[in-house]
Symmetry: C2
Subunit: 143 residues, 2 copies
Amino acid sequence: MTDDDFDLGQFLPYALNQAAEAASIGFQKHYRQRYGMLRTEWRVLFHLGRNGAMTAKTICERASLHKTKVSRAVGALEKKRFLAREEQANDRRLETLSLTRQGQAVYADLYKSAKVFDAGLSSHFSAQERDVLNRCLEKIAKL
Amino acid sequence: MTDDDFDLGQFLPYALNQAAEAASIGFQKHYRQRYGMLRTEWRVLFHLGRNGAMTAKTICERASLHKTKVSRAVGALEKKRFLAREEQANDRRLETLSLTRQGQAVYADLYKSAKVFDAGLSSHFSAQERDVLNRCLEKIAKL
DNA sequence: AAATATTAGTTTGAAATGTAACTAACAACC
DNA sequence: GGTTGTTAGTTACATTTCAAACTAATATTT
């Protein structure tokens, strides 16, 4: 990038943000309209739906989310009866979180939507582009 | 993506968000620590610094930002004396926004940081990857 | 030219987020 | 076994954002 062609649109933090925003908004309506969920709630639901029961701590680590965010999302999902907590006997600070039957149904539904949505996005790219995109994004996320 | 390998990390809205967040946080300290600016303020500053004087409306369009966000960012930048408004004589609803000398200096400084930061990110990728990334992000942002 | 509709931008109140302090349980040390 | 330190998770407050209502200026319609 030379001095003359610096373009906000090519500046990675900016370009990533614009793309992330656009993609998020597109998917948002699925979990927001249908279930009144927030982005963090959706993420927590997905982690539990995908990987089974785990503690809030583990979700924090896997999703790179701050514990207050997870705490609030868990509270909201519990209120919606999508998730249940169970205190662990050996360490009472820990709670095992798992989806209720209803939560699992919601997960299954959103999971399907996610796949369709992702396929829709992917259809604009070649397999190779898609591959590069995935690898790059993953790398950046880990910086 | 088959049923069995659905991975949140490969789901585009999610992956984009994680990457965008990581990249944003990295660059944030430049404008936040040094100048106490918010992301929207930085964007407005860049648009003005890059393209010269324009109205808030134009910034909204070019940056895909809602007018309330721009309004507040403009207010904040004005308070910091980085930007000045001038009412247009022919249509008094419109204000021409432009950077003050100080604002230009800040822009020049952040511009340099942006280039260095971007180069740092880019160094992890081949020219070809970088190219694919740019095109994909741009395409997604326009969906 | 009076009435209505648009447009640029601001303000306001509600929802969401981030940061830091807090509580409760466990661990380690003396 | 009491003091100190950590850890999991929640609460509280301040900041940020979002959506909708609002103001002031211009455009349009009759």
